[in-house]
């Protein structure tokens, strides 16, 4: 605990002599890169979103027409609802399982150097392979688990997981958890390994039990990483595409149509680039507001930034 606070207090004193430009110099290459590779295309997308753009041809200035069209489309709101549900279930579970896994991995374990890469395999796999692999597992009738487990036990009556409007989304959430929990676990494990040891020694001297140590030491010291990884995962989970596209195509009906799947259709099928860009801007704005609020809260309450 003391180290963290000491670091915070001494920030100014340590670099009182620093010229003002020094930190800016350090961030300049990254900022320039982001402006070129990220801001320019995004500004272009914003520009497109205010124009008609069907079939790849930039048409007339359209004002907010694309936005009105998008926001009055029930499918857009359906997609946002699906994504919120997806994220609200998947990310907290990945967070908790990941953290639990990281803590368990920090226990004394034989062969940890082999087990860590193995446990990390789901995250290493291309999402497209993950989609196909779970199709092999859970496809109705011919899927390995469908045939050997689900159907003999009669777990699902008259349907299969990806074909059921009630279950398909949860099945996709399950696949997401399978793929990304190891990611959280490895990141948190690395974070745990980087924690300073002195506070733990002090806690041991004070006779703190493991639960107290976890809540008073580990959790606060891990807060920055926990928050950052959780936030990044949340953003990514909202945009999930490959596995949905392969496993359900957004169906049955529109029950699994995530925003990225809808955006894909707007882009590559309907070639309505104007509306797809409007969708990009709306999603971006939502996240921008969300991240701002989240950042301020995390900074004040959790001392995470």
């Amino acid at each position: 605990m003391s180290t963290v606070e000491a670091g915070k207090v001494s920030v100014k004193s340590a670099h009182r002599s620093e010229p003002v430009w020094y930190p800016y110099l350090l961030i300049a290459p990254a900022m320039l890169t982001l402006v070129v590779v990220s801001l320019v295309p995004f500004v272009f997308a914003v520009f497109i979103s205010f124009h008609e753009m069907k079939f790849g041809r930039l048409g007339d200035f359209a004002g907010f027409e694309n936005y009105v069209e998008l926001l009055s489309d029930g499918r857009f709101w359906n997609a946002m609802g699906v994504a919120v549900l997806f994220v609200a279930i998947a990310v907290p579970l990945e967070f908790m399982l990941g953290l639990a896994g990281a803590l368990i991995l920090s226990r004394p374990i034989w062969g940890r150097s082999v087990l860590i890469p193995l446990l990390f395999i789901p995250t290493m796999m291309a999402p497209i392979i993950v989609g196909l692999l779970w199709k092999i597992m859970l496809a109705g009738s011919w899927g390995l688990l469908s045939y050997n487990v689900i159907e003999p036990l009669g777990l699902i009556d008259g349907s299969s997981v990806f074909a059921s409007p009630d279950l398909a989304l949860y099945a996709l959430i399950f696949v997401d958890i399978w793929q990304w929990t190891p990611f959280m676990m490895l990141a948190y494990f690395a974070g745990l390994q980087a924690l300073p040891v002195n506070p733990y020694r002090a806690a041991a001297v004070d006779g703190a039990n493991p639960v107290q140590t976890f809540f008073r030491l580990t959790l606060p010291m891990m807060a920055p990483l926990l928050v950052v990884i959780g936030l990044l995962r949340l953003i990514d989970a909202f945009k999930v595409f490959d596995s949905v596209f392969i496993l359900t195509g957004g169906g049955p009906g529109t029950s699994t149509e995530m925003p990225s799947v809808l955006a894909y259709k707007m882009t590559f099928e309907f070639w309505n680039i104007g509306e797809a860009s409007a969708l990009a801007v709306v999603v971006w704005l939502l996240f921008f507001v969300f991240c701002n609020v989240f950042y301020q809260i995390a900074k004040k309450k959790l001392n995470a930034f």
Binding site: L26, L133, I136, P182, P196, N198, P224
Partner: protein, 273 residues
């Protein structure tokens, strides 16, 4: 820390059991690599069979090894660039009070917020204009959009724990800022840099949408080549399994080799003592 064998057996057993459940689909995929096509999904499931190598030959015929090399090069180079450009930035964001720091920091994250599916056409149009489509440079640039922000944000949370005292001491010794960064900060950050760049490499390794639209015949990565195994005559399941496992291998090796930097146990803390 002294540990009795019982505790060790318990935790190891727990992790191994979890790993078997977690990896069951992957183990199955490994079996599919050598499983003859006609019994691939036979009912009842055939767990034991005479292995075949038929799936490997098609994969090699189709030049998948070339896509593998492209993927390795692209993943490595784009990740290295991200590390070079991103490390000073992450350090600066963590260490210094500067005007507009929060805004700039959020700007970094903002580049990751919009769905890539929506941005790929703007990219395509720009790249088509400046002749960057189907080039290594083009894809490297595109990969930096999602990885640079990720790298800076994650590494910064590792930077938070750096002891300022060491920097101060080095400065008092008369070291230049560059020397302090190189000899004090970088070694302390190695753990975080390795962990974060492994994650970045994996993002680059598995990326599909940008690689597919902005790449092409000249620069084709492994994930983009995989869908060619899904034909209207069905999926070449065995071949897919081969590619899936082969695509795993380099990352698996990299994580295995690099993990000693991540798993430094408690020695990391000792530096601060």
């Amino acid at each position: 820390m002294e540990t009795n064998t019982g505790t060790r057996v318990f935790w190891t057993g727990l992790v191994v059991i979890a790993a078997v459940f977690l990896l069951f689909p992957v183990i199955w995929m490994m079996m599919m690599m050598v499983k003859p096509t006609d019994i691939m999904f036979a009912r009842p499931t055939e767990w034991l069979f005479t292995p075949t190598l038929e799936h490997f030959s098609y994969v090699i015929e189709q030049g998948f090894h070339e896509y593998l090399i492209t993927s390795i090069l692209l993943g490595t180079i784009s990740t290295l660039l991200v590390v070079i450009v991103g490390t000073p930035a992450a350090y600066a964001f963590a260490r210094f009070e500067m005007k507009g720091r929060d805004d700039l920091f959020l700007f970094v994250l903002a580049s990751r917020m919009a769905p890539p599916v929506c941005l790929v056409i703007p990219y395509y149009l720009i790249f088509a204009r400046i002749d960057l489509l189907d080039t290594f440079v083009g894809l490297t640039l595109a990969y930096m959009t999602f990885n640079l922000s990720f790298f800076i944000w994650v590494l910064r949370s590792f930077c938070r724990d750096l002891p300022v005292e060491l920097e101060e001491a080095a400065m008092l010794e008369g070291w230049s800022r560059f020397q302090v960064f190189r000899r004090v900060i970088l070694p302390l950050l190695r753990n975080g840099i390795v962990a974060t760049s492994v994650l970045c490499f994996i993002f680059a390794w598995n990326e599909f949408m940008f690689s597919f639209m902005l790449g092409g015949k000249a620069v084709k990565t492994l994930p983009v080549a995989i869908p060619t195994l899904i034909t209207t005559q069905g999926v070449r399941w065995g071949e897919m399994a081969v590619v899936g496992v082969v695509a795993l291998t380099p990352v698996l090796i990299a994580v295995f080799l690099l993990q000693r930097h991540i798993v430094r146990g408690l020695t990391m803390g000792a530096v601060k003592g």
